[in-house]
Symmetry: C2
Subunit: 349 residues, 2 copies
DNA sequence: CTGTTAGCGCTTTCAG
DNA sequence: CTGAAAGCGCTAACAG
């Protein structure tokens, strides 16, 4: 079992360096470096004895120095709007894990949705601090992204806010397919009047999910009634408001499709406030399948986005770009899957 | 408004260095370095012209290199069990913000509760990669922590798992006071049989909150009935189980105090499952006051821990330690505050 | 006030 | 297979 060595290397001023290890092992620092980097061209015996000393002194290489000389820091910048969030959290977590497996780390750069801040963060990240970056839901325009790319900085966009620009590595979920599946589920239950609480108009996720929604409706021979779609800021309070609005319609929907879990839960609150029973009086389905779905009562039916996987995929794409390996697909879409829980049922007859 | 310079510095191989800036500005690199580091000993005029060039080329200093020569990387390691978590998320977020204000960043090191992993992470973090670390809810024993300290690595513990060891910088919330306030609230409502769902026995937070719980009871002339406290792993399912157990008692409680929001919500689920109305048949109060409290129905009464503040405080403590400034209090406890919502009411008569 | 110079710890040719 | 030596970009004395 790993343990902190209780006897620190007081022999050295501060921490041991590669030079100390070299001296102790009776080899040159070049050799130690080779061993540390798993180079094949080291005699088995030499390698062993170096590793021995390394272990004894709990030595581990100074990444800053390595970065300086090799150009690789082992650090990846990651910008994201919010860290404390049921949606971003798992993506971040997936990315961190994937990186950890490669012995790399994330440098966190929360933007708080401030575009200027994001830009300046990026500039700093580019400067020798990190090997590349993952931009989650970036505020940057396609043009800005392209500029960044021209500067030769490796990055990938996870969950693009706008339509993914050509030539830029992008990973997202299959928004349209997911929305279609959710809507078909409602349709199959017998719902004919289905309201939607979308995200902000113009967002990639919003538009794609709207396409899926519309397409499922069309599949059932129905047309989308524009009155039945309300837009939101993805957040719960606005979800409640939007649901109020939909439910106040002269001919209100019997089911509501929230384009994320937050607004779906907001709708749930609206229903509860009106004394409507979910799912008997109103069916609700969400999107994202965050942990919030099983916290509310009834548990929320939701379209699962593979969030952690989104992060992991972003990482592996990025690594390939950094290492200048061939990437066949710059654009990746991960499959979604409807998770049926308790918030959906046939409409009251 | 900040913008990415659409015209990259193709003049330099890769990115501009301090040397390029020096040449362009017609000064020495030392002067550029001084300007970059806001040193006072630079002529106003010189400073201006250097800054001009810096801006023109969107130059920003290579942190790795700075770290190497100055010993300060501007990076702080942060270990935590989980990043995607309603409790840790806000702390992390607060820490990131506080660091951002100082133009420093977080290097993320999620431990996934694996002790070995945490130890090895720490060893790496120590090696020139970061200037110090924040350990959230560390798995390390007091001894290991002390060893780390003897090695001269600056760190602070946020939310200690065990009783905070002497001489180690630690910030936590006032567990006992918070628990006392929550219990007194229940008592004031008229509850006389109050169950508790604690965390794991032995944890600092558990034991302290138990002290507060007991002390409030004592204040009302009551003794803690051991039958009324169930232990948990802090998680929702276990909270449900624990509540089932308490509610199955021959003489069941009329109120349950969950030692965090997760288990309180678990208890809420148990109540709902039994057809008990909350708060009429059963009052529930949680602890932490995460965002989950307002997602469930009824909204959960909970003891607010200033989570973001915990992170911020940890950062400022750490910075002072790194800069070898005097720190008066190595041990800081942040006040909690009961937030009354809908899940508590007088017991049924 | 400004320039010169010596490294920080490591990787990487280039020679053996 | 191994070592010597040249930096990576920057900061920090030390001189002027």
């Amino acid at each position: 079992m790993a343990q902190l060595d209780p006897r620190p290397d007081q022999k050295f001023r501060g921490r041991a360096t590669i030079r100390d290890i070299a001296d102790l092992a009776g080899v040159s620092i070049a050799t130690v470096s080779r061993v540390l980097n798993d180079r094949p061209d080291v005699a088995r015996e030499t390698r062993e004895s170096v590793l021995q000393v390394v272990r004894e002194h709990g030595f581990s290489t100074n990444r800053g120095a390595r970065g300086l000389s090799s150009g690789r820091t082992g650090l990846i910048g990651l910008t994201l709007p919010l860290v404390a969030d049921a949606y971003f959290g798992p993506i971040l977590s997936g990315a961190a894990e994937a990186l950890h497996e490669r012995d790399m780390r994330i440098v966190l750069a929360p933007t708080l949705h401030e575009h200027d801040r994001e830009v300046s963060l990026l500039e700093r990240l580019m400067r020798g601090t990190t090997d590349g970056a993952i931009l989650m839901l970036p505020e940057e325009s396609a043009d800005e992204l392209r500029t960044l790319q021209h500067q030769g900085f490796p990055f990938v966009v996870v969950d693009p806010r706008e339509t993914p620009p050509d030539g830029i590595a992008c990973v997202s979920a299959m928004h349209a397919a997911g929305a279609k599946e959710a809507t078909e589920h409602l349709l199959a239950l017998g719902h004919r009047r289905i309201g939607a609480i979308a995200g902000p108009s113009g967002w990639y996720a919003t538009e794609e999910r709207l396409i899926g929604f519309r397409s499922a409706l069309a599949g059932a021979g129905m047309l989308l009634d524009p009155e039945l779609v309300a837009y939101s800021d993805w957040r719960m309070p606005r979800g409640t408001e939007a649901a109020e609005q939909l439910l106040s319609l002269p001919h209100p929907p019997t089911a509501i499709f929230g384009f994320n879990d937050n607004v779906a839960i907001g709708a749930l609150h609206a229903a509860q406030r009106r004394g409507l029973s979910v799912p008997d009086d109103l069916s609700i389905v969400g999107f994202d399948d965050t942990e919030l779905t099983t916290i509310v009562t009834p548990h929320l039916t939701s379209v699962r986005q593979p969030l952690a996987e989104l992060g992991r995929t972003g990482v592996s794409l990025l690594i390939r770009i950094i290492e200048k390996q061939r990437v066949d697909a710059l654009r990746m879409e991960l499959a979604t899957k409807l998770v049926v829980r308790e918030s959906t049922a046939p409409p009251r007859t």
